[in-house]
Point group: C2
Chain length 427, copies 2
Amino acid sequence: MPNIANDPKRKSWIKVPENSDFPIQNIPFGVFITKEDVITIGTRIGDSAIDMGALQQLGYFDGIDLTDDMFMQDTLNDFISDGKKTWRLVRNRLSEIFDENNPTLRDNKKQRDIVIFDIKDIEMQLPVQIGDYTDFYSSKEHATNVGKMFRDPENALLPNWLHIPVGYHGRSSTIVPSGKSIRRPNGQTMPADATEPVFGPSKLVDFELEMAFITTDSNLMGEAIPVDEAEDYIFGMVLFNDWSARDIQKWEYVPLGPFLAKNFASTISPWIVTMDALAPFKTKSPEQSPTPLKYLQQKDKHTFDINLEVSLQPEDAAETVISKSNFKYMYWTMAQQLAHHTINGCRVNSGDMMGSGTISGPTPDSFGSMLELSWGGKNPLKLNDGTERKFINDNDTVIMRGYCQNEKVRIGFGECSGKLLPALEIK
Amino acid sequence: MPNIANDPKRKSWIKVPENSDFPIQNIPFGVFITKEDVITIGTRIGDSAIDMGALQQLGYFDGIDLTDDMFMQDTLNDFISDGKKTWRLVRNRLSEIFDENNPTLRDNKKQRDIVIFDIKDIEMQLPVQIGDYTDFYSSKEHATNVGKMFRDPENALLPNWLHIPVGYHGRSSTIVPSGKSIRRPNGQTMPADATEPVFGPSKLVDFELEMAFITTDSNLMGEAIPVDEAEDYIFGMVLFNDWSARDIQKWEYVPLGPFLAKNFASTISPWIVTMDALAPFKTKSPEQSPTPLKYLQQKDKHTFDINLEVSLQPEDAAETVISKSNFKYMYWTMAQQLAHHTINGCRVNSGDMMGSGTISGPTPDSFGSMLELSWGGKNPLKLNDGTERKFINDNDTVIMRGYCQNEKVRIGFGECSGKLLPALEIK
């Protein structure tokens, strides 16, 4: 069935501000709480949040095979589990409901008052119950930068890196939606000149600019997802800040990988932008040499041209843009990541989340972490308010933004924002 | 309130075979499906499975503050979330219902037929929906053995090991209950003499003898659980087989830890034995030197004397016991693991599972993996059927058992069993 919701000529009867991330061609999915404390699944057009639970009760999804309470839930998992065909039917229907030429809801004030809220009057929630969360490490530039700083500048990439989309498991329980403040973590570190570890707040809290994709139920345990089918099992994408404590990480991560350095918090943008909405922005990913093993081989275009930007905002000061990057720099594609993840029969469920790994571009102003931007603290960043940063200070807010743009339409992700609060005192 | 269910003098009107793991002093919790395809929460005495959903409907839990459908659910998460006081009230009540001197259910055949099933007639399920699964690495003997084999025999333990209960995140989606067969995983490996990785079934599939504990909702995000309170947030324990593919692991695990080498499957014993039932078997853990940092310091007894045993059973042959170990050998305690896990504010939820790491004892016959038992394949194990094993062959079954025993009572875990099927062919 055609993806009619992407028609760039369509306009909505809901006002869409210029340069909005959410024209009627986007139609992302999320979960929010209304002022009346009702939780619902919804979408967004311009600065309006749309209650899809209310739309369903009013019959606007009639004719689409959905359970009666599909959108009156507090997560998108069941909807995602229904698969790609249903996602497209629902997104197409929403596109029609809000088309400027469709009077049904447009001219029914009573229904509009039930269905449409100002974005300022709702509170975004986590869109899915995340079963398992995996983080990859798929930016060649990032892996090279880290290798140069911590290992051998001449052999920065480890031997497996060009053969495997390296990944590891993360913690789902501390993934939060944009806007929730984060605590600076306490933990064990081994100072450079010490012989015994010390305890206290991390001194090197960092962000990592990532994107994450959300899967549907992809396979049975024991079965692999072929790389050519993998994209059909991806529901959509969000911006992802993989908060990291570099000093804790350095002391704990050998030999089993990062643990407390990462699992204190990760922040996502709350609207899941569907792969259908992103389709016009498909582009080629970097050439892979050596050619990967057969189960990872893809032809044609399999990544997306998504502009990314990170700002740092000190308390009571304006933002400074500290990084400008693009998702297309990633060496390994999402399809390769998912094919690799399941090649051993690992089961993937609806609502699972997979992070890209830090997205660093080729130039220093496109690096995706403070670690790289300040080159391990050697080159502090100058902010617009005159202060400097090697890592993130207490009460700084980190804001990530991302959008696709062509001559006809802009499809964006909104904000992925989080403020770093001071550490709690441990008695 | 007293833990009256542990009274060693109590006998049940349900017959308990000699040396059963499940006397009336155990009262573990699990989830099963009856022959009539009803899923329910239950317990076990001797070889009888007891439908706690049916008991609740019949009023047997009246007076305890429970939601109406507490035991008519397909996971224990809500019950676990109710906390330690409720767990004890329910376990005490079960102890009274099945006391040989209590005629109420004993003498009511109609009710007994609804409530009690032969263990052979039910099918055990996963007892909890596992939100996040963490695996530790807390056996000093295991870490030393691995260090000797793969790193430096003179400095086998890494610098952080004696300071940190090292842990990493695992995958929840492939944890299965005892009895479910496992597929040999396919994957990438780098043979010793090769310059390019190869693809195919893992040649070095291993078990890891572990135990795991299940938590209740322990903290809010940002808050730490003090080590002295941590035990109150542990619901109970199971046996845990952390299946591992050593060749995949070797190639993939630097720098972010094991991934596909582990996430194809983990097997647990399906009855969760409560910490209350295990209390009589508390014992001292090994002395810790150097003294850990304050947030990890404990006094007194904090581990448990649990005998562990691993058998390997080739197809159509008898079992051979290949390892005899004990949980008490673990260097780091569960309370230390949980305190460490949350010291950075990482949130722990009801139903989360935390594995001990491979439990190896001090002698070669107490090692907890084929890797150690065969010392990297150098010393193949002889089985009773005359065959030898370096690692696990297709169609071998690995069976773990565990029990506590004193002069009065035996409290056991039943079996944690899984058969390794041949790899699927990847086209």
